[in-house]
Structures are given as structure tokens and as C-alpha cells.
Symmetry: D3
Subunit: 236 residues, 6 copies
């Protein structure tokens, strides 16, 4: 079996750092770096809910995702200029929102909407997972500021694992991701629960035991991410 391009061990994630408060105006924000991937996450609280929730006595969590045009090796189109968000962008922002919603008691949140904006400044694989991990910090800071810490019910973080030429590995970077046989994103809770799983066979179907191994690696990876989240929350 070949080595990983980065030389990392198969169960070794990339270095993680989370800088809280980067966006000065947001109720909560975090600039998360996972290896060469860098995402600015902000949480904005508004005292209203979308039409379908009006007068139901509960809140809502939305997410929007974007990538700066030159976050990537080759400049990508600016979606605002093209006039629409790509399917990939929409898929990711729906995932972010779905991942954070079950971590909050929406009833207790009351008629408020929290919007999570995740904007990728530099991309090197795993941007959707970094977004979720950073968004949880931004969300927590915003709720702390609003004295609503108690509405948080779970701590979540996300990591991608995949089947590559080096076998099942933790936390794919861009090179690994673009050549993987399978790519799986796990959104897990610190309490051991599963919030979201997205697994895709890129080139050929994979097996149940492969999948279980990827889940095992993901548990290792998110354990480190929970530590980084907690450290960031203590900074501010």
C-alpha cells in the first residue's frame, strides 16, 4: 500500500486552528483553518422566522456557503456575477444547515433565525467539513452573546474520510480527494451520535466493512476537532 501524498498516517488529521471573533460585526464568528483550508464562519441572529414557521413558537437555522473566486488553484466564476449559485454550493449549504439544526433546541430558541455564513478564503479539500466545524463555534459564540447558551443540545464537528491508494484515511486534502475511490463526510456529536453521513463511491462501489472503518477514523478525527472548538470558545 502506498503512502499518503502528505506523508500523514492514515488516522492522522491535519493541523486545526480556530480564531474566534474574526468578523467584528457578527454576533459570533470563527476563522477556521484545517491544513490549507481556511473558512470564515459567521452567525447572525435575527428576531424573526421564515414564513412557514410564523406563530409556531420556534426558531430556525439557515446556512449559506460561498467560495471566493481565487480560493482555488484556478480562478472560479464568482457566483454573484454569474447570477446563480451552483448545485454544489446549494448542496453544501443545505448540508451545513441540516448539520447544525439538530444541535439546537429550536423550541427553546424562540422566534429567532440564526444564519450561518461560511465563506472559503483558501481551499485545500474538506471545505464543507471545516465549515460545519467552524459554524458550530460561531453559533455557540452568538448564542453566548445572546445569553441563550442553554439552547445548544449537542456539540458537532465534521470530517471527511475516504478510500485512497493509501487505503482508508482520515481528513482528505485536495490531492487525495480528487483521486479517491470513495469520499465520505461524517457529522458527529461529542456525545457519540451521528447527525449526518454522506458517502459517495466516486469510481466504483465500496463495501460495508470499508464504510465501518471510515466511520471509526471519523470518530478519531472529530475528537481532535471537539478539542479545538472548546479551546476556541475559551479564548474569547
Amino acid at each position: 500500500m502506498t503512502k499518503r501524498p502528505s506523508g500523514r498516517a492514515s488516522d492522522e488529521g491535519r493541523p486545526v486552528s480556530i480564531e474566534p471573533g474574526f468578523a467584528r460585526h457578527a454576533e459570533g464568528s470563527a476563522l477556521i483553518r484545517v491544513g490549507g483550508t481556511e473558512v470564515l464562519c459567521t452567525a447572525s441572529i435575527e428576531n424573526k422566522v421564515p414564513p412557514f414557521l410564523r406563530n409556531k413558537g420556534q426558531g430556525w437555522i439557515n446556512a449559506e456557503y460561498g467560495m471566493l473566486p481565487r480560493a482555488t488553484h484556478q480562478r472560479g466564476h464568482r457566483e454573484a456575477s454569474k447570477g446563480k449559485q451552483s448545485g454544489r454550493t446549494q448542496e453544501i449549504q443545505r448540508l451545513i444547515a441540516r448539520s447544525l439544526r439538530p444541535c439546537v433546541n429550536l423550541k427553546k430558541l424562540g422566534e429567532r433565525t440564526i444564519t450561518l455564513d461560511c465563506d472559503v478564503l483558501n481551499a485545500d479539500g474538506g471545505t464543507r467539513c471545516a465549515s460545519i466545524t467552524g459554524a458550530w463555534v460561531a453559533l455557540s459564540l452568538a448564542l453566548r452573546k445572546a445569553k441563550l447558551t442553554s439552547v445548544i443540545t449537542s456539540q458537532v464537528a465534521a470530517v471527511s474520510c475516504g478510500l485512497t491508494e493509501a487505503g482508508a484515511v482520515l481528513d482528505l486534502d485536495y490531492i487525495e480527494d480528487s483521486a479517491a475511490q470513495a469520499d465520505t463526510n461524517f457529522v458527529l456529536t461529542a456525545e457519540g451520535g451521528i447527525v449526518e453521513i454522506q458517502g459517495t463511491a466516486e469510481t466504483s462501489p465500496f463495501q460495508d466493512h470499508d464504510f465501518f472503518e471510515l466511520l471509526r477514523l471519523a470518530r478519531l478525527g472529530t475528537a481532535k476537532l471537539f478539542e479545538a472548538q472548546n479551546a476556541a470558545l475559551e479564548t474569547l
Copy 2:
């Protein structure tokens, strides 16, 4: 534990029927019915590839998904009239394409693009899974007509399973889906492989063992779907 709204056993899928050739002009087509869900799937072959694949000697598989405005209890917006596809639509059509692509040898397909159109005529839960299962039949018929049957490498079908008040159950209908704690879509191959897994905790995180049980049910469910696919292919 309560009973399922439909009275079905927890490992009992809905009746399935697949009518091949419904769309007279398409190279391949199938009208699939899974309980009250009805999807018209067509496969169109063109002798060209998208720009990013030009001169690479391989083919491509695209998918588009739509729902007739009155396929649902309440009339939904017509996306063509609104001027854009919803995030949900884009997420589903990306899933359909990702699910079918690993089942075809794209090199052997040559510089051709196959577009799978899945249009929901009547909706009662599970429309994305029915789309994948029906699209595989449409794809197979189109490849048979083009004398390219040998490019198919796997048989795939999809089914949703979920955690409900009746426990872990197979093949959610609309009522179950809208109240489930967790909803999981499995795209599996007849050979026992996994092509795609999408699992979402709707209200609260779920556990590893729940997930393994849902996967077990999905294997039971797709076994019946493979039979229905094979029967449809023999009809025409």
C-alpha cells in the same frame, strides 16, 4: 412500539411496478411506481461530452430531476416559471447522477453523454430513490438499444429507511417521512456494494447501531427492487 401508518411490517417495502418504454421518443424510458409515488425516467444519448471531458476518450452521465407542480398535496411552484431550480432539486439531481455514474464504464462508453431525466408525476415519499431505481432501467434500455450493454458494470437501486415511532423501518412513505427522527437513503448494488449513503438526523442525533439496522433493511428492500428492474427489462 406503535404500528406504521400504512400497517406495513417494518421490513416491508411498498408495491413496485416498472413500465418500460413509456416515453416514446427516448432511447430508454421507464415509468416507475413505488406505492403512491410515480416517476417518469428517460435516458437520452448524445454523441458529445461536456467541455471538461473533450478529447479524453470517455463519456459522462448527467441527471435532471423535476416535480410536476401538482404531484404534491398542495400545488408547488413551477421551477421553470420561478426561474430557478430549488436547492432540493439540485441536490437530488446531483445524487441521481452520482449514483448511476459508478455503474457504467465511462471509458468504454466513449465520447457520449447520457442524460437521465426523472420527472415526478405523483409524489408520496421516496421520489429520489424511485428516480434512481427507474433511471437504471431507462439507462439499461438506452444502452441496449445502442448495443452498448457491456458498458454497464453494476445494477443499482435505491431505497429510503428511517427511524420512526414504529422503530427502524423500510421504505418510508410521505407520512412517515415527514415525522421521522432520521431519514437515510441507500443506493446499493446487486453485487452487495454501496454506491451512495445519505443519512440525516432530522430531530436528534442517532446511534451507530441504528444506522447498521437501517442498512440491513435497505439490503432487503433493494433485493425486491432488483427483481422488479429485471422483470421490466425482460418485458421489452
Copy 3:
């Protein structure tokens, strides 16, 4: 004079069948087949009116038209994906609404909006006429269900006639339509009235007497369509 491609007599329409209730959730629906053309028509009733009619004590009738991408010989663009409806689509859906509106007593309908969706599943010429004929059935069923049958003031059906190499003929199919010198759509009432006429010289101007002959054929054609509509209404 040459024969028609289909071998039909010049005053011979295509076989018609109308299956009521195809769309299970709609207040009224009909799947109409005219030769190889197949259109799913639904009628949805809402207890509100568009802004320009608010507090005027009358109702409104809207229509939307679409064609599945592979209803045609070559796959067409999906309008939802392209982000806009073509001029042809908009012209047709405006025609459908204009054709049905004079058949209903809008005052008596009260502050309700009925939306007619006509989606072409298979196309072989005459899709706008089949849409109108089918939409009248869907509309009637929806009004019957709402116990508002008395608001219907006329029975309408539509048929296209044209000048072809075989002379003036009734109910053009796709082959005839694409080569016709003139193409005329007639929306007529069972009581002998005219609701809408659209006549177009495709290649060169035509004469008054040609036009009168086309109108005569249209009366023959719609007579059969009224029978098919009535038969469908008796089924359900």
C-alpha cells in the same frame, strides 16, 4: 393532391382518450391522449386571487404549460434548469388561460383562483390544443368536487387545422405541422361559439376561403372532442 402522411382522411382527427383523475392529489385532473400526443392536465383551486383582483368579488383562471425534456424526438432543454420559460411556452400558457376564462362565470366563482397545469409527457403535434381540451375536463372535475359546477358557462375544446400538401386538413400531427403552409388553432364551444382563433401563414399568405374551410373542419373535429370530454366526466 397527395395523401396525408398518416393516411387519414382530410376531415379525420386522431383517436382521443381522456383518463380522469390521473394526478391523485389535484382537485381535478385528466391525462389526455390525442394520437401520439399525451398531456397531463391538473386543476388546482386556491381560496385567494391575484393582487389586481383583490376585493372585487370575482375569481381568476391561470394556466401554466410545460414539456418534459424528452417528450420530443430530440431532448429539449429543461426550462427550470435554463432559468426561464421560452417565448413559445409563455405564448401557449397565455392561450390556455384565455381559452378557459370565458367558459367560467368569474363573478360566481368568487374569490378563488384555479390554476391549470398542462404538462406534455409525449409530443406529436397539437400539444396546445390537447392541453386546452384536457384542461376543460380537469377544470370541470375540480369544480364538481368543490360543488361549483354551475359556474361553468361553456364547454370548450381545441383542435388545429392546416393547409398542407394534402390540402386543408384536420388535426395536424408533428410531421404535417412542421411542413404546413398555414397552421390554425381553433378553440370552439359546444354551443357553436368561437373562443380563440390563432392562424399563421408559415411560408406564404393564405386566402379567406382557405380559412373558412379550416374553420369548418375544426367544427367537425371539436364535435368528437366534446364527446370524449363528456365520456370522461361520466367515468369518474
Copy 4:
């Protein structure tokens, strides 16, 4: 029977004037005034054809229609600002193109596209008919300038007639149009042919003999318009 709001006789059109060459840069142009309706029509010739006609040795005629926001009693939305053309606009511009195309020998035109732009500066009913009548002058001037006069095969003009409280009348103005029982647009040739007929029952179906009377009035009306067109062509 009541009198017309304008006091005109039922077979009396409004005063018409056509000012050729209003748009200085266009190959051909005409500012047409029909009563209070004023439309600037230009014809632009390009030495290329749309993709579907490439290498077929024939030309094409396109039309675009617009209304200045304050051409009407109340300011309308600017379609450029709203981001899309209304269905009405699209229906009208398709009509204009269909009306002019059969008046030109497209084969003889060669691989050229003529675009007719019709922009309403002031509106008082009948803008689509004035557009067609003026566009024919702009088209003729452009072809004359390009020494292609011989490709014109017919002279066309258009007028609306309708059933009003004053009976069947010629050339509806805005007040008549907004209250008519039926509104019919006739595009006729100087040689006595029919190019396009669009008849709509606005409030209730109308009868064959009504329609024949409207056609008779339209012949009277277009006779005057042909004179005005010829006079304009002689000016320049």
C-alpha cells in the same frame, strides 16, 4: 347601439402617420403614429444567421418588442430592470416576427438576419398592430439600402378590430380595447392574403358572422395603412 367613445364611425380608423429615418444609425427605421399610439421601429441587418440555419443558404427575420415604462397611463415596470420580459412582450414579439417572415423570400435574402425592434414611446391601444405596420416600412428601407428590394414578396399591415358596445368596430383605441367583448388582430397583405389572425373572446364566446364582419372591417383598415406605408417610402 351606443356610439364609440372617440365618436368615430365603426369602419373609421385613426389618423396614421409614418416618419421614415427617425433612428439615424439603423439601416431602416420608421416612427409610426396611429392615433395616440407611437412606435419607433428599426430594422438592423447582420451578415450571419442563427445556429439552426447555418449553412442552409437562407436568411432569417427576428423581432423584439418593448414599451418604455411611461408609455402608459401608469408607469410600468422596466423589463430590463425586472430581469425578464413579460409573457405579453414575448407573445407580441413572436407575432411581429411571424408576420414579417412570410413577406420576404428567405432563400433570396441569403445568410443574413434582419432584426426588427419595435419600441412603444406612447401607447393608446393597438401597439402590436402599429409595430407590424411600421416594421414593414423599416424592413423595406433597410432592404432598399442593401439593394435587396427584390426579396420582398408581400406588403403587410395590421389592424385590430373588435366587438364593443358600439358593435363591430375598426381600430380599437385603449378605452375600447379594455372593455371589448372580443379583440381580433389581423395581419393582411396588400394582395388580399392573410398572414396572421389572432382572435380572442374576452368575456364571452362570439359567433362566426361576427368574425366575418371583423375581417371585412380589417380589409378596409389595412387599405389605408398600405397607402400610408407607400407614402412614407416615397418620402425618403
Copy 5:
């Protein structure tokens, strides 16, 4: 130093004429001609304000700008058909609104919105300046009609000046504009104030003294424009 293409002296503007009341339905309108440039300006008054001004007891001034497709040497895209306004259009319409707003006492205007529509019928350079100059007349007429003349606080007009091969010159036409080293638009008041300055180095930076000379020329140019505005207001 070379002569100007038009033979004009460096401080000589083009002939100006302003025809008030061209648009019959608008509260105020003016057709302004500056050399070969011709713009139809209308002012529409509505008794409401945009959301951000509600209940603030003040009014607002908006502007929209457009160019007919064949106002130019080569036919341009119709923005309504393309589905969006160009950046140039948006920049110009924002400039027009900014230029007129400080000339009106918005508090005294009360909760009204005045929309200025400037549509270029023929273009030969300086369309944004002609739009501002004409819009002031349309605005004044509309306010006069509404008996609100007293809300006007300044008279404004606009002219472009530039550095060309003939040195610093007043009122660039299209030929001069397309080859200028620098192009500057001045919006000035009759009382000697500055409302807006936009100066752009097209090919290479320019110097302070150049700029002061351009401002001097602009004062000469706007003096003539103020006369033309006043003459137009006296006509009606």
C-alpha cells in the same frame, strides 16, 4: 494642436433643444436633443416611498436609464431580453438619481417617490449628461403639475468635457469620446455649486491643472444648458 473632428471651438457645445411634454401620459416629460444625441426623459410621481423610508416623512427620487437597441451604430443587446442591465446602465442610472436628489427638498416633497426614466433614442456621445439635463426639466414639469414647485432647491445640468488631441474641449461627441485621454462629467447648479464630478483617465493619468480647465469649460457649457431648460419650461 489638431482641430476637433466636428470643427467646433474647444469651448463650443453642441446645439441643444428640449421638447417638453413628449410623453403624453407622464406627469412631466422632455425630449432633449444635444447634437445627435436624443433622450426621452419622463418623471412619474407616486404617493409612496421605498421600504427603507417608510414613516420618515420624506420623499425619494429614483432613476432608470435605457438605450434602445438601435440607438447606436451597431445594434446592441436589448437588456430586457438578456435578462439584466449592464454595469454601465446601472452606473448611469445611479448617477442620474444622485444628481437630481440634492436639487429637491426631500422633506418638503413628503411621502412621494419620483421616478425619472431616461431612454436614449439616438446616441452620439454624452447620453448620461443629456439625461440629467432633460430629467431636470421633466422633474420640474411634474412638480409644477403637482403644485410642488417650491420643493425644487437647485437647477442642475450636466456636460462632459475631456482631454483630446485638440486639447481640453467642451461637450464630447461620440468620435471624441472614444479617443479621449480623459473624460469628465460635471453636474453643476445654476447657482455655481457642484453636485457630482466623475473624471476618468482613459489612457494615462492627467494633471490638476487639466482638471481645473475642464471644470472651467463645464461652467461655460452648463450656462447654455440652463438657458435651454428655462426656455423649455416657458413653452408649456
Copy 6:
């Protein structure tokens, strides 16, 4: 005369820092901070030119501008999600491109396009000026990397000045900007030239001598910015 809200002297700009190389994949990049305003500027070089410049042996410079939704006090709409760029965004990105283009010898650049992306991470007034100042650094770095340093002909920087309650002041922050009587942006060269001037009277017209004072302040302000640009270029 009152003091400035920030306590700064009227000719005192805010602290400036420029961090080169922030965007790892871009050919050139700079993160510029001017007081509380923070903009990430990148320069991307492509070996092609837009259609209108093909085969003319020269290059081109484009710019795109964006603001992260939560760069501001209140969350703004994400333009990508709304489906279009605001007029303000388009006006600014056009200004950035116009400001940088005259600083480069486009002929010598050859058939290359440089795209400058300026994305505001935190906003506190003056974002367009900071974008221009930062973009010049990103551009210089990209050209240095491509060994094309000699195509740069001028060093430019931009600063806003305005008339406020504290008189004419240099480098407005958000609080000053939102209440200024006049707001002027100056794009100046290190050699003493003017590249672009945009001056706007917000509430009432201003005088020539005011304008000259604002220009004097701008020269002081840009002198500091040129130093910061040079320091940044020496870092990397």
C-alpha cells in the same frame, strides 16, 4: 467646528497595513486593512483576452468586487443567492478596473487578462478605496511572479475625503461617511497624476474651493498609502 467622531485630525488617515500573499493560490494577493476595513485582493492572470480584444496584441484588466454578507453591522443579502449583483457592486467593480487599467501598459502586457478580485471581509467605510490600494499590490505581485514588472507604468492608491460637520476631512470611516454632506473618492498616482475622481454632493451642492481642499487632503492621504504599498512589496 466639531471634532471628528474618531478624534482624528482632519488630515489624519487611519492606520494601514497590507499583508501580501494571503491567498495562497493566486498569482498575487494582498489583505489590506485600513482602520476597521479589511479587504482581500487577489490578482489572477490568464493567457487570453475578452472577445472584443482578440488579435489586437494587447491585454486587459478586469475587476470584481464583493462583500461578505456579515462584513457589515447588519447582515446583507448574499448577492450569489439573490441572483444578481447590486448596482453599487457593479459601480465599484467598474471603478476598480478603470483605476488600475491606466497604470499598466496594455500593449506590453500582451494577450493576457488580469482579473482583480476584491472581497470585503470587514467593512468600516472606504471599501472601494481600500480595494484599489490593495489591488495595486496584488497586481504588482502577480506581474512580478510572471516577470512582467516592466508593464507597470504608475503606482496608484485611493482615498476618500469628505465634507463633514468637522469640515473637510481625510479618509472617512463609516460613521462620517453616512452623515457627510459630500463624499469624494480620489485615485491618484505616486507621480502626482489623477486617475479617477468621483465626487458626490449627498445633501446639498458644494463649492469649487471645497473640492480643491479635498484634493489637497487626498494627496496627503495617498502619500502614506504609497509607503504602505512599497513596504508590502518588500516583505515578500
